[in-house]
Structures are given as structure tokens and as C-alpha cells.
Symmetry: C2
Subunit: 343 residues, 2 copies
């Protein structure tokens, strides 16, 4: 197990799950990690101090089985909030988990983290940095409580590239900003959202700092994150429509995204899409309630034909030159069924 440099993004929910609390402490102290221990079915959130001690115990057992310090493991959980983590089962499984590690195990990991997801999400990109071939491979899960949240969003991205530490963090921040932070299924922000990028440098490229290599690595990482984020929306709970919302004419990218997310989170917009109902006034109403000063006379809305599974909504608000693209699903009775019964 080669130590890898890490860059992480965690939920901004003030209620944070125990694994997020542990990871934030560890990430504040060190940027080098060797393993991620993730479980699905239980979010280990809102469990107080016992949640944290349970998370630590699970991590310790796994670290012991791997023969590495506990501080070199990052933790992630997803599932029901407020139920105690079945820590005994995790502790008992640790030796078997450690023994089962394999170079070709990423597919198993991608399947193991699913909850209400209907399929696993895995994306690989390859590029060349300072003459060396480099691979970036990401897996993710998430289908509801995405804004991102119950199913919760987790994404783990592994690369053998060597990247300068501050560059690794800024590349991840910009990739997440344009991908996982631009998707919403239900406007519900999870307590467990976690994106972890581990770069172990095994490709032996000259550490990425600037220039062409930075552009190549950043573009490849962004492509992996965007593809994973889109896969999460395509697998959204109860989805019948995959909706791309492009907002143009904003003063800043953040303003454009705010308008896009306001539309994407409108239950009336989402139900209209589900019903293939051309009730475009709801788009204007949602944009006007976004907190951005959208004027009716400047607002332009175009929607692609509603019969298709993939729908594009183009909105121009006529205030500036900035734009953003947001991805969402419709709101169907199946979403309600899944979440009325989930536990």
C-alpha cells in the first residue's frame, strides 16, 4: 500500500456524520493516506460521541488487518441516519476485507458502496504527463439526498499521477465545483457527502505544477468528476428525465448556478418535466425566486422537446456574460415511493 497524497471535499451541512468528523481531523493533520474504508446501509450520523468511537473502532480494525497506522485511513459511510453503526460486523470483516484487496477490485468497491442506486458508477481517464502514461479512476454512489444527500453522495478518485499538493487540492476544488456541486436530485444536502482524491505518484511523472501538464491533468480530473456526477443524476431515485439546465447572461458563474439550482430544485418544474407538461411559466417563477434579480423583460427560456428522456433547458437572464450548467432529474411518484418506504 503506497502512501498517496489526498485532496478531500466534505459536506457543508453543519450536522456532519461521524466518518466526516474523523476524516476532517485526519485531513487537517496530514495529507498522506493509504486506504479508504467505506460502508453503505448506515450513515453513522447523528449518533453522538458513540458514532465517532464506532467509526474509529472500525477504522482501527481495518488498519490492524492492513498493518498500517489508523491515521492513514479515511472513512466514509452512507445509508440511514441516526441508527448505530453495526461496528462488530465491520470489525469481524476486517481481516477478510484486507485479504481480498486486489488491483482489479475497483468494480467490487463501486458496487459495495451503493444504496438506492440501481447501477455502479465507475469512470476512468488516461492521459500523458511529462511523457508518462497516467490513469485517473473514479467511483461514486448517490441516487437521492443529492444536492448533494439519504443515499448520500460519495466519490473516490484514485490516480497514479504525481501532483504538487496545492495543485492537487485546487484541481479537485475546481473539478467538484463544476460537477458534484452542479447536480441536484432533491435539494437535500447530505450529512455524509465526501469526495476523496488520492494520488500516489506511481506513474513517476514530474510532479504536476503548472503549464501544459496542469491543464491536461485538471481537464482529465474534471472530466472524471463531471461524468460521475452525471451518472449520479442519471441514476436518481425515480428518474424518468435527465435534465440539463444551462443558464447564460449572469454576472458571475455563482449567480448563474444559483438560478440553475433554483429551477432544478423547484418541485413544480420537476413535476412538469415528469408530466411532459410545457408549463414553462414555472421556470420563470423559479428563476424569479432564486434570490438573483431576474427581470421578466430580460428573461429568455427555451426547452427541448419534452418527449425525449434527455431534456435541455436554456435560460438567459440578460445581466452579464457568465454561465453555468446544472444537472437534475424530474420528480416522479417513484421518488416518493422509494423515500416513503426507506429504512
Amino acid at each position: 500500500l503506497v502512501p498517496a497524497q489526498a485532496a478531500c471535499c466534505f459536506t457543508s451541512n453543519t450536522i456532519k456524520a461521524a466518518p466526516v468528523i474523523v476524516d476532517r481531523m485526519r485531513y487537517a493533520r496530514s495529507r498522506f493516506f493509504r486506504a479508504i474504508l467505506a460502508n453503505s446501509g448506515n450513515a453513522n450520523c447523528h449518533n453522538g460521541r458513540r458514532g465517532v468511537s464506532d467509526a474509529l473502532a472500525a477504522g482501527d480494525a481495518f488498519a490492524g488487518a492492513l498493518g498500517i497506522p489508523s491515521e492513514q485511513i479515511l472513512l466514509a459511510s452512507t445509508g440511514i441516519i441516526g441508527k448505530r453503526l453495526p461496528v462488530e460486523r465491520l470489525v469481524q470483516a476486517a481481516p477478510q476485507l484486507a485479504a481480498g484487496l486486489s488491483r482489479s477490485g475497483i468494480g467490487n468497491a463501486a458496487r459495495a458502496i451503493l444504496t438506492t442506486d440501481t447501477r455502479s458508477k465507475e469512470v476512468t481517464a488516461r492521459c500523458v504527463l511529462s511523457g508518462k502514461p497516467v490513469t485517473i479512476c473514479g467511483i461514486a454512489k448517490g441516487a437521492g439526498m443529492i444536492s448533494p444527500s439519504m443515499a448520500t453522495m460519495l466519490a473516490f478518485i484514485l490516480t497514479d499521477a504525481s501532483v504538487q499538493p496545492s495543485v492537487l487540492r485546487s484541481c479537485l476544488r475546481s473539478a467538484v465545483d463544476a460537477s458534484f456541486n452542479c447536480i441536484t436530485v432533491d435539494g437535500c444536502m447530505s450529512t455524509n457527502d465526501t469526495v476523496i482524491l488520492l494520488a500516489n505518484g506511481c506513474a513517476s511523472n514530474a510532479a504536476v505544477r503548472a503549464g501544459r501538464d496542469l491543464r491536461i491533468f485538471s481537464a482529465a480530473l474534471s472530466a472524471v468528476c463531471l461524468r460521475l456526477a452525471q451518472m449520479i443524476v442519471r441514476d436518481a431515485e425515480g428518474i424518468t428525465k435527465f435534465i440539463t439546465i444551462r443558464v447564460r447572461g449572469a454576472q458571475t458563474r455563482a449567480q448563474a448556478r444559483r438560478v440553475g439550482l433554483a429551477i432544478a430544485n423547484s418541485s413544480l418544474f420537476k413535476t412538469a418535466m415528469y408530466g411532459e407538461n410545457p408549463n414553462y411559466g414555472r421556470i420563470a417563477a423559479a428563476a424569479g425566486a432564486s434570490g438573483v434579480r431576474v427581470q421578466e423583460s430580460a428573461l429568455r427560456v427555451r426547452v427541448s422537446p419534452l418527449r425525449a428522456r434527455d431534456i435541455t433547458v436554456e435560460v438567459s437572464i440578460g445581466r452579464g456574460q457568465a454561465s453555468a450548467t446544472v444537472y437534475t432529474s424530474d420528480l416522479s411518484p417513484e421518488y416518493i415511493k422509494i423515500n416513503a418506504e426507506y429504512t
Copy 2:
């Protein structure tokens, strides 16, 4: 038709319907009005300049039939956004409408403004001010796009009390703040929301200014608004649960309301209530995502038994002494059905 002093509250959506645009202009110039012309089925919103000229034409026809200046009429519309107002039909109906005015017509008005509502909403309060009996009668409509929003919220409150102008406005503001601004069905803010209070002074009480009369009038008005707001939620699209959320321990009332509305607008919370599913972690997750710094260790949540139609959620966030109460409905497949098909 006695001129009445008016106090009004309009939507804060930056996309405003034509009748709201007209009312705001008229209300800026004068505080005395004699009539309200309201229609349902068409919101007359997002119709550009033609929307405004259509609204003015409908108002002019009605003013002509009543023999009063157009500027003394307030307008309100509710229904589909983005379709032209059938102004000819309104103009043609004006003489009949004017001829049909009656002291006992409030019930007809309450029914005429409904859209997806299943019942009419009318509340009357009586009190005594400076020895004179006074009546406050309010009607409202709204069932979806309530945060308040498509069905849109309209409320018209009539009283024969005489009230000092600035007092009338501040009484309405505080009544609306604790009623219509504390309800949400779907988190969607309408372009047409309008609350109009008309006070014609026919009760001949000494104009309400301060002291005991102010407390009595303000309490009666607040009770009418709260009851109407609760009736709107009880008639929410697809409702199977009426949910009261009490948030305590906040630093300010606004902070308490923000936490309450974050919970009330969480699709995951609402679907759990629909499914009678004790997934209380979703309440913590929504509170933590509200923008208020809610700490897990200080958070207390209690929920009344889920089998009942009326459910109370009590949340304490342990930051201060302020509290707020918010009312909402659950999210059911019927809500989706209604809004997928609406047009």
C-alpha cells in the same frame, strides 16, 4: 362602495405578475381603494407589456361598470403562468359582476378564486373597539406553489374597523409574518402572491392607534390570517398529513423560522411523513443544511405519533430563546399527479 384604507403585501419574487405590477403602482400613489377584481385560472404573469395592458383593460371595464375611477380598484390573478389573459371575457362580464355585488356575496368570492383548491377558505373574527362592534372577514385561496406559489396564494381581508394608516400596515405586516410567511407546501414562491386588507371604518370606532384597541385589533387580524394560512396548508395539493413544526432555542425568530422552513421544504422529510416512516435523521440533516449553525450535540427532535393526520415536530437547537412555528404538508404521489397534469 365606501372607500377603504388599504394595507397590502405582495410576492417578493422578482418575476411579478401583471396584476401585482399594477397594484404596486396604485398602492404607491394612494392608500384608498373601493374594490378588488380577482380572477382564477390565469395568473397573467410572464406576459410582458401585453399582460399589464390586459390587466388594466379588465380593471377599467369593471371600474366603468361600478362608476368609480380605475385607480381605486386593486387587481389579483391566479392560475397558469405565461398564457394571455382572456381579457374579452372579463370585459364582457363586468356589468354582470357589478350588478351582482351583494353584502352576502363573500362566499361566492371565496369560491370564485379557487384553482386546485378543494374547498373555499373564509374566516370571520369579531371584536369590540372603543365600544363599537367590529368585524374582520378574510378569504384566501392556495393549494400549491405555496412558499407561498401555480395555485398561488391570494388573501383578501375586509374589515369595517377604523384604523390609523401606519397602524393598519404594521398590523398586517406582523400578522402576515406569523401566518402566510410561515407556511410552505412545496417551497415554490409564486409570482402572484397578494394579501390585501381593506378597512372602511364603517364601524365608527375611534381610529385604532395604540393601547388596548391596538392589541385587540392586531390579535384578531393575526388570528384571521393564521387561520386562513392553516386552511391553505390543510388543502395543500395531495396532502395526507398536516404538519406543525415548532422550532425553539434559536437566537432570533427569523433564525427559528429558517430552520423550520428548511425542514418543511425537505422532500425527504415530507416523503417520510407521507410514508409514516420514523426517519428522523432527515430532520437533523435538513436542519443542518438550513444555513443556521445547528450543532448535533445541541439538537433535540421530538415527533408526535405518525399514524395521525395531524403531526407535530418539535425541534430545539440550543442556541438561544427565540422560537417560530411553521406549517406544512407531506409530499404524496397525488401532488405529483396534480402538477404533472396541470395546464
